[in-house]
């Protein structure tokens, strides 16, 4: 666990980058610091591995004040991934990944073996190991950056806008990869981004920061979407919060009905389309085991008759869910009545943060609104 | 000898313009001509040659290699070699210095044109510029700061290198060094060094000014 206690960073010219920040980063989960530029999110991150030292306050790593640890030693125990990957251009990929193991005095053979293992873990072909960074694409470099940070198996990983320099498609796949890795590794990850969608997608907990280095709200993503603490957070979250919130509700509980005869199915049980007067019409599918309610709703909207087709992993039809079935689940997960959810966009609804904070859907993480 | 001051002002007054061919003002004039001629010639040759190197990429590699070799040769060596062709004339200094200027200016022209952002080039094409017009109105102006940076280096180097020509009797102010050495007399040497440095600083300043005027859209580039 990483604890910030009244941490302030004031530069010599008087600007305050981080102002009296207190929060807890839970072990084994992804905590995202998000906010507009100038909100102190990167500064906060960099104070953890002492790339920057706080002016006042205390940052503790599992109870120990980081100021008591010599910076290089501290940093060797914390993985660090930055925007442009920051790979050493003069070292081959394998040696880049093995940097920290070398620093820790591992044998060359062991360090390289570990590096190869990590390259595989982050989904890079072993043939890339002997290349130099300039021979890799931006996305590949970023994967190497992640592998390098993981090399010495540090319990904590700091990621400073690691995916913001790559194109949206590569970014999405890197995000998915990170979530997959995290499900195996269970690291304590602090992730900085200015992209709220990325924050909501990756974070178990999201800390929204405002300009001047103050914490605006810290909550699980689902709670954040339904119960933004104030106007700033609401505006920062952007449009379609209601729809986006559905990403955090599993479609597992959607009531399925047997497929009607209008659904044409091939011999393996895969859907071909809805029978209409002049042939087959489009259809939408979702997998109740893995998909969210948002996907189910989307599937329903894609079919001419408003019925979503539920499939299993192999793509075989398991049943269908009409809009009524989806509505039932939506009602079950309706946001709290007192929340400002229904008033999205209306400036007059800018109330104080909701009093009690009921759990918002299945979103993980802590859900305390932190008013500032 | 130990009492000899670094500078005797009366000597300067007597020798500034005394009508002799070794008067300081005459040497200064000689120096200026011998130093600027190579830069001017170099620029006249470097622009078309640089353009050719950009147009036909294969030309650049050998040209750059040749210029690199030229640049690594000591000036006295080139003067000595040209001595056998052009004798004890001004050309013996001007021709080698022109090669030195080229060695700086051709890469500057090529880099300058390479510094034109592709978006600028593309939008010029898209607006319907024909190649010649595009070169003249878009690419060359954008390349000017880089070319001028090279021109500054070439000019200052040329001013300083001319003095070596004194060893073959064509060194402008450099002749003061020979004179001072032979007579164990500091004043001419100090005068020569000061005038050459002042000349270099003035020329550099003028080029910076020219860049400000020619390319008000770009701040003067620092050259080191």
């Amino acid at each position: 666990m990483i604890t910030f206690e009244g941490v302030t960073k004031r530069y010599r010219d008087g600007t305050v980058a981080v102002d009296d920040l207190s929060l807890e980063v839970p072990t084994g989960a992804i905590t995202v610091f998000v906010g507009p530029s100038g909100c102190g999110k990167t500064t906060s991150l960099r104070m953890i591995n002492r790339m920057i030292d706080a002016t006042s306050g205390r940052i503790a790593l599992d109870g120990q004040d980081v100021r008591e640890i010599d910076p290089p030693t501290l940093r060797r125990g914390i993985g660090y991934v930055i925007q442009q990957a920051g790979l050493f251009p003069h070292r081959k990929i394998v040696d880049n990944v093995a940097t920290v193991p070398y620093l820790l005095g591992w044998s060359r053979k062991k360090a390289r073996a570990r590096a190869m293992e990590l390259l595989e873990l982050v989904g890079l072909d072993a043939s890339l190991a002997s290349r130099y960074p300039f021979q890799l694409s931006g996305g590949q470099q970023q994967r190497v950056g992640v592998a390098r940070a993981l090399a010495a198996d540090p319990p904590v990983l700091l990621m400073d806008e690691p995916f913001s320099a790559v194109d949206p498609i590569v970014r999405a796949s890197l995000q998915d990869e990170l979530l997959r890795l995290q499900s195996e590794l269970r690291k304590t990850i602090v992730f900085v981004t200015h992209d709220i969608d990325e924050a909501v997608k990756l974070g178990d907990t999201v800390a929204v920061m405002r300009v001047g280095g103050r914490l605006a709200q810290m909550a699980g993503p689902a709670t954040l979407l339904t119960e933004p603490a104030d106007d700033f957070v609401r505006e920062f979250l952007g449009r379609d919060r209601g729809i986006r919130r559905l990403s955090f509700i599993s479609a597992k509980e959607v009531r399925l009905s047997p497929a009607p005869s209008a659904l044409v199915i091939d011999e393996d049980g895969r859907p071909l389309g809805w029978r209409t007067g002049d042939g087959l019409a489009a259809y939408g599918t979702f997998n109740p085991e893995t998909d969210s309610l948002r996907v189910a709703l989307d599937a329903a909207l894609l079919s001419p008759n408003g019925i979503a087709v539920a499939v299993d992993e192999a793509g075989r039809v398991r049943g269908v869910a009409g809009r009524d079935a989806i509505d039932e689940l939506l009602a079950e997960h309706a946001p709290p009545a007192a929340g400002p959810f229904r008033d999205a966009g209306s400036p007059r609804a800018a109330g104080s943060p909701p009093a009690g904070s009921p759990p918002g859907g299945s979103g993980a993480g802590i859900s305390e609104g932190v008013p500032t | 000898m130990s009492e000899e001051p670094l500078i005797r002002w009366d000597w300067i007054a007597r020798n500034w313009a005394n009508g002799s061919p070794t008067a300081i003002s005459v040497l200064l004039e000689n120096h200026v001509v011998t130093a600027f001629l190579p830069v001017l010639l170099g620029l006249i040759v470097a622009v078309p040659l640089g353009l050719a190197c950009v147009r036909w990429r294969w030309l650049y590699q050998p040209t750059a290699a040749l210029m690199n070799v030229t640049y690594s040769l000591p000036s006295l060596v080139l003067f000595s070699i040209f001595l056998s062709i052009t004798g004890l004339t001004r050309s013996t200094v001007v021709i080698p210095l022109t090669f030195f200027a080229l060695a700086i200016l051709i890469p500057a022209v090529v880099d300058g044109l390479a510094s034109v952002p592709d978006s600028v080039r593309q939008s010029a094409v898209a607006m319907g510029f024909r190649p010649a017009r595009r070169l003249l109105l878009v690419e060359l102006p954008v390349a000017v700061p880089v070319v001028l940076a090279g021109l500054r280096v070439a000019t200052v180097s040329s001013i300083s290198l001319v003095s070596v020509g004194a060893l073959i009797g064509q060194g402008g102010l450099g002749n003061l060094f020979i004179d001072g050495w032979q007579r164990q007399f500091y004043t001419p040497i100090v005068v020569g060094i000061v005038l050459i440095v002042v000349l270099a600083v003035l020329a550099d300043g003028l080029l910076v000014l020219a860049q400000r005027l020619l390319t008000p859209w770009s701040r003067a580039r620092r050259t080191t």
Partner: protein, 220 residues
């Protein structure tokens, strides 16, 4: 060409203290001494300035001054002031003129190292010295070598001119030849110096191939 044949064909030019081998050795000695002293001063200084960012003005001034200062004038003045006859005073201008190219390029090389790279290096727990030796120097190496190469050529060139103020070496053939109007010696000496300069250039090209990581070699 006749002059060249005359110069190199003369058996007297191949032995004795005035012979080509002896003069070449002298030239190499002075040049190497001046070069190493200059490198010893300028490389650490350039790294320090590039790393800390303090004293950048010094680098700019040194670079411009070195270009504008007339070599011959400096040589003549320093040797006259320090006293004719010994080698040491001649070495001073040689060193002084060799420092700026090394200083400027080392500074530019170290300063030009990507801020992200530095950040990553510190972030992974490299200590100051490790950052310098494992990151900054390898990445700045192409420019450091360029500076050393320019300085080496500068030294060879200045040492040639220094024959005028009494230094030995290959420049003697040129200077003495000019004084006695023995143009065969002038041309012959010039060819020898040219060959030496090209050899120096070649050594540095080789060094670049061997020492610089393919990951940072500049494509030109």
């Amino acid at each position: 060409m006749n002059w060249l044949a005359g110069f190199f064909g003369d058996a007297g030019h191949w032995s004795g203290p005035d012979g080509i081998p002896a003069r070449l050795l002298e030239h190499l000695e002075f040049s190497a001494a001046a070069f190493f002293v200059a490198a010893l001063i300028a490389v650490p200084l350039g790294m320090l300035i590039g790393h800390t960012g303090r004293g950048a003005l010094l680098v700019v001034v040194a670079a411009n001054a070195a270009r504008a200062l007339p070599t011959l004038g400096l040589l003549v003045l320093v040797v006259l002031l320090a006293g004719v006859g010994t080698v040491l005073p001649v070495l001073i201008p040689l060193v002084v003129l060799a420092i700026p190219p090394i200083l400027v390029n080392t500074y530019e090389g170290v300063r030009g190292v990507d801020a992200d790279l530095r950040d990553a290096a510190y972030g992974m727990g490299l200590r100051g010295r490790q950052v310098l030796f494992q990151t900054l120097i390898p990445v700045a190496l192409p420019l450091i070598l360029l500076g050393l190469r320019l300085a080496a050529i500068q030294v060879v060139s200045t040492a040639t001119i220094a024959a005028f103020v009494g230094l030995g070496g290959l420049g003697r053939f040129i200077i003495d030849g000019l004084a006695t109007k023995t143009y065969a010696d002038v041309i012959g000496g010039a060819v020898l110096v040219a060959a030496l300069a090209l050899a120096v250039q070649f050594v540095f090209v080789l060094l670049d191939r061997v020492a610089v990581s393919p990951g940072v070699r500049r494509v030109r």
